[in-house]
Structure formats: structure tokens, C-alpha cells
Amino acid sequence: MAQAVVFWVCAIGAVAAGLAVFRVDSMARATFALLASFVLAAVPLLLLGLSYLGILVILMMIMEMVVMAVFMIMYMMNPAGLMPMSMVHNKKGSLAISTGTFVVLAVGVLLVDWPQRQGVPPPDVTFALGEALMGSHMLVMLVIGLGLFATIVSAVVLSHPRGRYDRFGDDLRRRPPDDPIPGSVDARSLTRIFGVGR
């Protein structure tokens, strides 16, 4: 009973916060409304016994949304929403398409004869997940790892305007490197120790 109450409060809260994302004028508020939606949608995961994945979603979403807030403020014309302006196109069409999608999916959810539940959750679901990722689902883990690595590389390549020739000079010999924001670590000693920057 208590679980059902928590579920419904969180479900309605998640949907309301999700709607608020596209309704509020302030970009900071929109970002944190999205965060609220994610956190509230993660609570049902905890109710299902997925404690690790639920907390992981919360942990990741907080970090992601704070970074997102920084980008929002950086790129939006009107970040604080002090002068409300419309930043939408084809509102009616989008509304119709999304409402239609919801109706079709909801009808499907209610009409489909879902399979019966088979088996019970293992005593330690987190352990089962880890074992699956390191055993039967190793391929998934490999793809995730490679995908994240490729993402890191390509995101830096896309977004970083300066390459190593800008930093180390045409013959790559300039030490310390010419950086707009100098760091603390002496590049020369790092080069000696780790071979970084060669």
C-alpha cells in the first residue's frame, strides 16, 4: 500500500516535472525540472528492488544535469527567462504527434496480453548484474566500454579548437605548452615520467 502511494506520487511528479521542462522560461529551472523528473522516475526502480541501478541513475543524472545547466547558460539567448520568448517551431504538429504516440502506446500497453512472470528475482540483484556483465553479457560490457571511449575521443576532437601544434609549437618542442589557462602540472617532468605530449 505504502509502495503504491510512493509509486503514484513519484510517477505523477516525474511526468509533471517533465512537462515543466518545456513550460518554464528560466533555463536553469528547466534543467533542474528535468533533474527532478529523472530522480522521481528513478524511485520506482528502487521500489522494484533495483537499488544499484536506481541510485546509479540518480548519481549520474545529478552530475549530467549540472553540466547541462552550464551549457544551457552558455548557449541560450535568454538563460534566466527574464524576458519570456518562444523558442519552438511547429508546436501544433509536435503536440499532435506526441499525443498520438502516447495514445497508441497506452492502448497497446493496456490491450497486449503480457507474458506471465517467470521466476523470482535473485537474492542479490546487483551481484547478478555484475556477474552477467562479466560473464554471459560480456559483449555488452565491451561495446559500452568501446562506445564510451570513442565518445570521449570524438567529443574532444569536435569541441576542442586547439591541437597539439597550438600547444607545443610547430616542432612540438615548446615547453611548457602555450595554454590559455595554464595548469599546475609541469609538462616537462610529466613528459619524462609518463611520456605524455610526445
Binding site: S26, A28, R29, L35, I55, V66, P182, V185
Partner: protein, 315 residues
Amino acid sequence: MNAVSQGPTWTVLLVPVLLGVLALCGAAFARVLDARADGRGISGGVLAAPLAESGRLLLQQRRAVVASDRLLARTGVVLVPVAAVLAALVVPLGDRTASDLSIGIVWFNAMEVVTWAALWMAGWGSNSVWGLLGGYRFVVQGLSYELPHMFALITVATGAGSLRVSDAVAAQESLWFVVWMPVAFVAFLLSALALSFSGPFDTATGRDIVGGVLAEYSGVDRLLLVAGRWLMLSAAAAMSVPLFLGGSGGPLLPGWLWTLVKAVAVLGLLVWVRSRTATLRMDRFAEFGWLVLIPLTLLQALVVAVVVVGMTGGM
């Protein structure tokens, strides 16, 4: 040493009280160090200064800048101390813990990350350039300390073979983790200072930006932020006990007293470092974190993983 078990429900109420006392002790010790550095005598007034300051802030009127984002500001300000208390829920005292979650270590990490959002919201919401600068500075700092912090926690979880804090305590019965995970311990202590934006990592509230996140806050709001910072530091110090220092293990004294003694010792060390070091610019810390701390903590995790695999005989 007895195994850690789930305490009765009312122990949850004990957590904020104990954490508050620990935070007050830490703040008082910081005042003592400041008084000594200034060449003043140590009197009762110095010791009671944090309490007196809290009382003064409680009575002080709150003010707010025109067009400040009240909703985000209030949420952020309240979240800082709340996150600290929630993070401390999984810390066992002696052989009892308020909530022995199966993923306690991840829980601590998630609650501590709440500070990111909270400080940024508080900085943004105050509608002041200093507050916003402070919020941004904390995010930069967060990106630098968070990964070493996570790798330190992962190292402990690897050594314990579990994400449950009580299992981590049980795994240290013969040998404390600090002995064979010294790098992770140091990284954890550094991140404890950084995540409570104090000591060398206090750029978010730096004097050069007239108090940063704290600039526009007064009265209860300011009290919550400052108290939240001390609660967070205390929570991290208390958490280092079950993670690295063998929990309640120790001769003669009862377990709960050992936990307290160790927590106070770690907190004292952190406060001492906080008082004796100059502020570290966040861009310098960013490079140090990514080029030195992350490789070192990764190596530490690798060493621990190899030892664990070796001791358990392969699979």
C-alpha cells in the same frame, strides 16, 4: 570485533544529532587553530564561537537580491545540509548502523554529488555575479575531484567484494584498508576537503570573489550553507572510518567509542590541513586531478584487484 548489523529505526534520528556535534567540534577546532595562528589566547569564547555565530545568524534578517530565483536558491541552500545528513546515514557507529543499505558505498557517493547541484543552484539563485562564479568554480572543482573520489570508493568496494559498508568493515578485521590502499585513502581525504568546499579547495566561497556562493546569503540561509559545509566535512571524515580505518575495530575500548575516536582524529587532521594550506586555484587542481590523481587511483584499484583475484584463487 562484532559484525555490523542494522540498528533500530530510531537510530536514524541519532545520525543528524551526532553529525551536528561532530561538525561543531570541527568548527570549534578550526577557531582554535585560527586563534593560535593569530597569536590570541584560547578561551571559552573561541571554543563557543561556532555556536554564537549560529545564534547570530538565526536572528539575522534574511535579504535577497531583486529578481533572484527564490525557488532554486532555497532548494540549493536546504539541500547542502540535507545531503550531508543523508550521506552519513550509512556510516556505522560501533556495531550498529542506521541503515545498512546493500549499496551503501554508492549511496554515499550519490548523496555527496547532490552538493554539486545544491551549490550551483544556490549560486545561480542568488542573482549575483559572485554567486554564479562560485557555483561555476565548484562545478569545475567537482569535475576534478569526483573521479579520484569514485575510484577510491571503487577500490574499497573491490577489496571488500561488496558495496555494503558493513561488508567493508568485516573485510578489514585482519588488516585495515588504509595499509594496502594508502593512495585511495589520501585521494579520499583530498576529495573530502574538496566536496565540502573547504580548506585549499574553497574557491567556490573564495575571498577574491567576495564570498562566492555565500556572497548574497545572510541569516538562516547563510547558516544552512556554512553548517552544511561542516556537516559534509564531518560526514566524509566519519565515512573514512568504515571505509579505510577498520570501522569499530580496536583494543580495550568499546566499538562505538573507537568509531568516534577515529572519526574525530580524521576530522582533526582535515581541519588542520584546512587551516594550514593556501587556497588552490581550481584550474591548477583540475590538471593535478586529471593528470596525477586519476592515474594513481586507477593504479591503486588495479593493485587491489590483482591482490583480490590472487587471494581468492582466480575465479
